[in-house]
């Protein structure tokens, strides 16, 4: 299949059809190559796992990571809007319509930051956030799934925000402003599922700070839902 448009940064390279996002396979690989005295023109080894999607390093990788989180949210919220469980209340429907809209704004903003022209295909066309393991036929099931994903997204932002380079400050500010709304969403969902469970000890530690998750931890939590694809965040900056 040749029907993918590659992100311009590595469009020229001839890659296996599903090996996108691999700018920074460069990181590990080229460090090794340079250490070995190889020139830049040395062909890079092609990863052997066709389902491995390695996020690039630097701010771009952080944007991909945020995009994936938003993709998880939009997929789930869209499903709840399209096929609401029969016991969804009017308030539930209204809240989820907004959750969906906000998550789409965030997802598409991050996509715009990655690819301003809007022409690249960032992931294989059959790459999805798979909902089959959730129980989405009851209000409790939808809210439990939504709480799981919203808590994860809220926990990701405080770490993500510390990883941007100096050149990413405007993107960082937008992510700060989006992350705050994601946290509002998490509390809204928590209160719908269990009134008064906002900011509970599951998500706020004993010193009053949000319990956060690193990109590695978030990626591990999301991994089952992206199968058979495997996301690697190994190139992302590591939190201090």
């Amino acid at each position: 299949m040749s029907d993918y448009t590659f992100f311009p940064a590595w469009r020229e390279q001839s890659l296996g059809r599903r090996v996108f996002l691999r700018v920074s396979a460069a990181s590990a690989a080229s460090v090794a190559l340079i250490a070995a005295g190889c020139s830049d023109s040395t062909p890079e080894p092609v990863t052997s796992d066709p389902n491995l999607l390695t996020l690039p390093s630097g701010d771009s990788g952080l944007l991909y990571y945020a995009y994936l989180l938003s993709l998880a949210q939009t997929t789930l919220y869209q499903k709840a809007v399209d096929v609401p469980p029969s016991d969804f209340t009017a308030t539930d429907r209204s809240v989820f319509a907004d959750l969906r809209d906000h998550a789409i704004v965030h997802r598409e903003l991050f996509r715009y930051f990655i690819d301003p022209a809007g022409t690249a295909v960032l992931f294989p066309t059959d790459f999805v956030f798979n909902l089959t393991s959730f129980t989405l036929t009851s209000r409790a099931g939808v809210l439990a799934a939504a709480q799981q994903i919203a808590d994860l997204a809220a926990a990701a932002f405080p770490v993500l925000l510390t990883l941007f380079t100096a050149s990413g400050t405007s993107q960082r500010l937008m992510m700060l402003k989006a992350g705050s709304v994601v946290s509002r969403q998490a509390a809204a969902i928590r209160d719908l599922l269990t009134p008064g469970s906002f900011a509970s000890s599951n998500v706020v530690d004993s010193t009053g700070l949000l319990i956060t998750k690193t990109p590695m931890e978030v990626n591990t939590a999301l991994a089952p839902y992206f199968a058979p694809y495997v996301i690697s965040v190994a190139n992302l900056a590591v939190p201090v």
Binding site: H102, I104, E108, T169, S170, G208
Partner: protein, 285 residues
């Protein structure tokens, strides 16, 4: 904590004719803040710092915000019959968080050698402790709905003030990481208060929305509304100075990304103007 280095930075800015020994500057700023206590941080600080966006001013203003929130919930929980038994745990939790945030900020300032002002007396009627002054916020501790409306505005203000200052603490990475973890807790508080109000019939969403019913305040208290939600309606965001993000080009039906009109502004919490936030907080001291 490295906040103290900020004061070196401050001392080196053009507003100080010569580099000031940092201990002396700290003392000066601390005294200035203390001197302004009756009116919050007020005019004395404005003349020493000009803006409220230095690290020192940011930490001090956030401390003042947390103290305001601590006082609000302390007084509310002490008001007989205001908060139902079922909802007391919610406000006890928020009070516990705010108390922890205040302690963290105070410790950060003290570790930097700053003189932390004493806690002022808060008056949530808006009368500044003078019974002859007009009441700007009636029934705050006798009507649950009036209390919740004020709590919502003060929590929204908190979210927006942290948003304004989150990256102002640039010389103290540890404090920055803490502040980035406090902000989402404030967001959850604000969202919860909004949920409570909605459950009691108010037209309000969990995030500032143009669809929210306006909380009406007298003219003298309007600055609180401006500080809490002013500018939240904006649909213009910037990718760099003067260059706005062309949302209309990618939030489209053809890209599978159509949204309802109010959602774009709802999707981002905006930063409060720090001077407006100060004026709003000064309504209660």
């Amino acid at each position: 904590m490295k906040l103290i280095s900020v004061l070196d930075h401050l001392a080196a800015t053009p507003t100080a004719p010569e580099p000031t020994p940092r201990r002396a500057l700290l003392t000066k700023l601390g005294r200035a803040a203390a001197a302004a206590l009756p009116l919050g941080l007020g005019t004395a600080q404005a003349t020493t710092a000009g803006t409220l966006d230095s690290s020192f001013d940011a930490a001090l203003q956030l401390l003042q915000l947390e103290r305001l929130q601590v006082a609000l919930y302390t007084q509310a929980l002490a008001a007989a019959g205001l908060i139902t038994t079922a909802q007391r745990p919610d406000f006890e939790r928020m009070l516990a968080h705010q108390t922890q945030h205040a302690a963290l900020l105070q410790q950060a300032l003290q570790n930097a050698g700053a003189i932390v002002p004493t806690v002022p007396t808060f008056d949530f009627s808006g009368r500044h402790g003078q019974s002859s002054n007009p009441v700007l916020f009636p029934n705050v501790f006798t009507s649950f709905d009036d209390f919740l409306a004020l709590a919502q505005q003060i929590e929204d203000l908190g979210v927006r003030l942290y948003t304004a200052h989150a990256f102002n603490l640039v010389y103290d990475a540890v404090l920055t990481r803490s502040v980035l973890r406090i902000l989402p807790v404030e967001s959850q508080h604000a969202s919860h208060v909004r949920s409570l109000r909605r459950s009691r019939g108010a037209v309000v969403q969990n995030w500032p929305s143009e669809e929210d019913a306006v909380i009406t305040r007298p003219a003298a208290a309007q600055v609180l509304t401006t500080a809490a939600t002013g500018g939240e309606e904006t649909t213009i965001q910037y990718q760099s100075a003067g260059v706005s993000i062309p949302f209309s080009t990618f939030l489209t039906i053809s890209k599978g990304a159509a949204i309802h009109d109010p959602a774009l502004a709802e999707s981002f919490d905006e930063a409060a103007n720090t001077a407006t936030a100060q004026a709003a907080m000064d309504l209660f001291v």
